[in-house]
């Protein structure tokens, strides 16, 4: 299958790019990194280990065996509240579609990981800060229902600033909807792994993220319920540097493991190997190779 237009265009631009886009500065250690090296190192700073946020399609591309059958692309946001502030909500969506090259804040579909067929959901902070509105809720629910039907394990990568304000209570209700879907999925003995990436907070954190069988956090990711700023305003003092980091949560017993992104894929394969009965899995997948570079 040919690479999508936007990707082809991006690549052309990259090829003809100036120094500024060939090189990128690490926001943590200030090292100037060659963009191709960043990509080769899974968007991790080779000097200090800083984890850049990843585009959903990059994540999928670097994770799966090669094929990815996307579902839920027909589920698209409406404007249920008729929300307009600085600009109408549909315009905000349009802008984020442009910017992120995504149709919404989560990509869902099927793939194989080292031969294990899995249902895969990947959230993306680039689209409305990864907020959960109706479409995120519906796509996640849909993914879990499809995975349940096929008795596949499900892996969801979370990245979210919380609920999407512009969809009001319909957004909040997605917490209930996704949790119900998780329960039904797990109830039949299916494995659900959540991978919490930077940042995972609010309604996503407090619903399907922490409802997983196994919770893996990516190194240094910010994870919590309330946002850092909200807490600082409430207590009127600065929080310690490591507060709400993956490493902090590991110590506090909230997550099963914290992994450097470069160790993530083999670890997920091992977890699948421990907990999934291979004999149970025999769903043929249509081969649809997908890849993207941020």
């Amino acid at each position: 299958m040919p690479a999508p237009d936007w990707l082809r265009k991006r690549r052309e631009r990259d090829a003809s790019a100036d120094d500024a886009s060939l090189w990128q500065k690490c926001p943590k250690c200030s090292e100037m990194l060659y963009r191709k090296d960043i990509v080769a190192n899974l968007w991790v700073c080779s000097r200090c280990g800083y984890h850049f946020r990843m585009h959903a399609y990059d994540r999928i591309n670097t994770l799966v065996d090669g094929d990815f059958v996307e579902i839920g692309t027909d589920i698209l946001p409406g404007d249920p509240l008729g929300w307009t502030d600085k600009r109408p909500y549909p315009q905000k969506l349009e802008r984020d579609r442009e910017k992120s090259k995504l149709s919404e804040a989560v990509v869902t579909g099927f793939a194989t990981l080292d031969g294990f067929p899995v249902a895969l959901g990947v959230m993306d902070f680039n689209f409305r800060g990864g907020t959960m509105g109706t479409v995120v809720g519906e796509r996640i629910t849909n993914l879990l229902e499809e995975a349940r039907r096929r008795r596949l394990p499900c892996i969801i990568f979370t990245a979210s600033g919380g609920a999407r304000m512009e969809e009001g209570m319909l957004a909040l209700m997605q917490m209930a909807k996704t949790t119900l879907a998780v329960e039904r999925f797990k109830d039949e003995g299916n494995l659900y792994i959540a991978v919490l990436t930077d940042p995972t907070t609010g309604g996503v954190s407090a619903s399907f993220a922490f409802a997983a069988d196994l919770i893996v956090a990516e190194a240094r990711a910010a994870i919590g319920f309330a946002g850092r700023r909200v807490i600082e305003q409430t207590i009127r003092q600065k929080l310690p540097e490591n507060f709400q980091t993956a490493e902090f949560l590991l110590e506090k017993g909230h997550v099963d493991m914290v992994l450097d992104r470069r160790e993530l894929r083999p670890a997920l394969v091992r977890l699948l190997d421990y907990a999934v009965d291979r004999k149970r899995l025999a769903t043929p997948l249509k081969a649809v190779p997908e890849f993207a570079i941020q």
């Binding site: 027909d74 149709s103 109706t134 809720g137 209570m169 909040l172 949790t179 807490i231 507060f243």
Partner: protein, 321 residues
């Protein structure tokens, strides 16, 4: 200061003047004019409330609190603790008798005064409160008792300790419990329904909402701060958020509205609570007819359809062109 309280103050000033006139035997046109004015003002003030006015009503210092509902039950035996760490006074739960039905009651509890508010953490529940709720819900399911919840919180506690003890996991856990308990769950949004902290005990087969309660994805202040960096624009946010009982009935998020007396539930708390109990009782009796499997299936389908999205021709995999 609370908007509604301010209005009540100016009304009560007029009423005092009216009483003084009456005392001094001054009647006639002046008196009648004033009476009409008071009447009009009351209608003007409370007849049709804006979303922001309802937010103020939901936060009114005299509004019935969870304790008032619990106090109106035929019996209530409080059960404490999460069995692990702490008993959270912001979430009160226990066995109760409601109109002859044995039930498990859970409610967020604000304080009536500062001292009580500090003890109750202003009704903001900590992880151990949600874990107590989960525990009591499981207990209710074990003994076939319906679960009745009263929601009144500005949101889950956002403090350091709550983060350290996994607030997200606690709320998620409460929601997970409500997805599988095979007994009727009836939630009543009676005051503030603040975000995930409210929903954690409101994923229910039947959701009742007091006319002037609010139920919102974020507090108007929080929403204004997030979107516009200015919490003072809360009234505007309230307008946008569609947080009133009517809005939510329209969305299918709330199943029934209990009307309040003019001026709010606190003007006749006992009668109002009685009407909430009427609604709960009707729901319990209807839900009791469903076998557990049907109950759970109906619960699933109820939330399954909440949302609003377009289903266009599929966007081609790999992102938008």
């Amino acid at each position: 200061m609370n908007l509604i309280v301010e209005r009540e103050k100016s009304l009560s000033e007029l009423e005092t003047r009216l009483a003084q006139l009456h005392e001094r035997g001054i009647g006639g046109d002046e008196m009648r004019a004033l009476e009409t004015k008071v009447q009009e003002l009351r209608q003007d003030f409370f007849g049709k409330l804006t979303p922001w006015e309802r937010v103020n009503m939901a936060r009114h210092p005299k509004r019935p609190l969870a304790s008032d509902y619990l106090g109106a039950l035929e019996a209530f035996d409080e059960l404490h603790g999460d069995r692990h760490f702490r008993d959270d006074p912001a979430l009160v739960g226990g066995f109760a008798k409601l109109r002859g039905h044995n039930v498990m009651v859970l409610s967020q509890q604000k304080g009536r005064d500062t001292k009580e508010n500090i003890r109750r953490n202003f009704g903001m529940v900590s992880p151990e409160g949600y874990r107590k709720a989960s525990r009591l819900m499981e207990l209710a399911a074990r003994f076939h008792l319906p679960i009745v919840t009263f929601v009144d919180t500005s949101g889950a506690d956002p403090g350091i300790g709550s983060e350290e003890r996994a607030q997200s996991e606690a709320i998620s856990g409460c929601l997970m419990t409500l997805t599988h308990v095979g007994v009727p769950v009836v939630a009543s949004i009676v005051g503030e329904g603040g975000s995930g902290g409210a929903l954690a005990i409101a994923l229910a087969d039947h959701v009742i909402m007091a006319e002037n309660a609010v139920y919102s994805v974020a507090s108007p202040e929080g929403c204004a701060a997030i979107l516009w960096g200015d919490s003072a624009r809360a009234p505007e946010a309230a307008e946008h958020l569609k947080l009133t009982s009517n809005d939510l009935l329209g969305f299918g998020i709330v199943d029934e509205i209990v009307p309040e007396p003019l001026g709010g539930a606190h003007h006749d708390a006992a009668a109002f609570i009685g009407r909430v109990f009427d609604a709960i009782e009707r729901a319990l009796e209807r839900l009791a007819l469903l076998p557990p499997a049907d109950l759970l299936d109906t619960r699933y389908r109820k939330y399954r359809r909440i949302g609003s999205w377009r289903e266009d021709s599929p966007v081609r995999a790999g992102g938008l062109a």
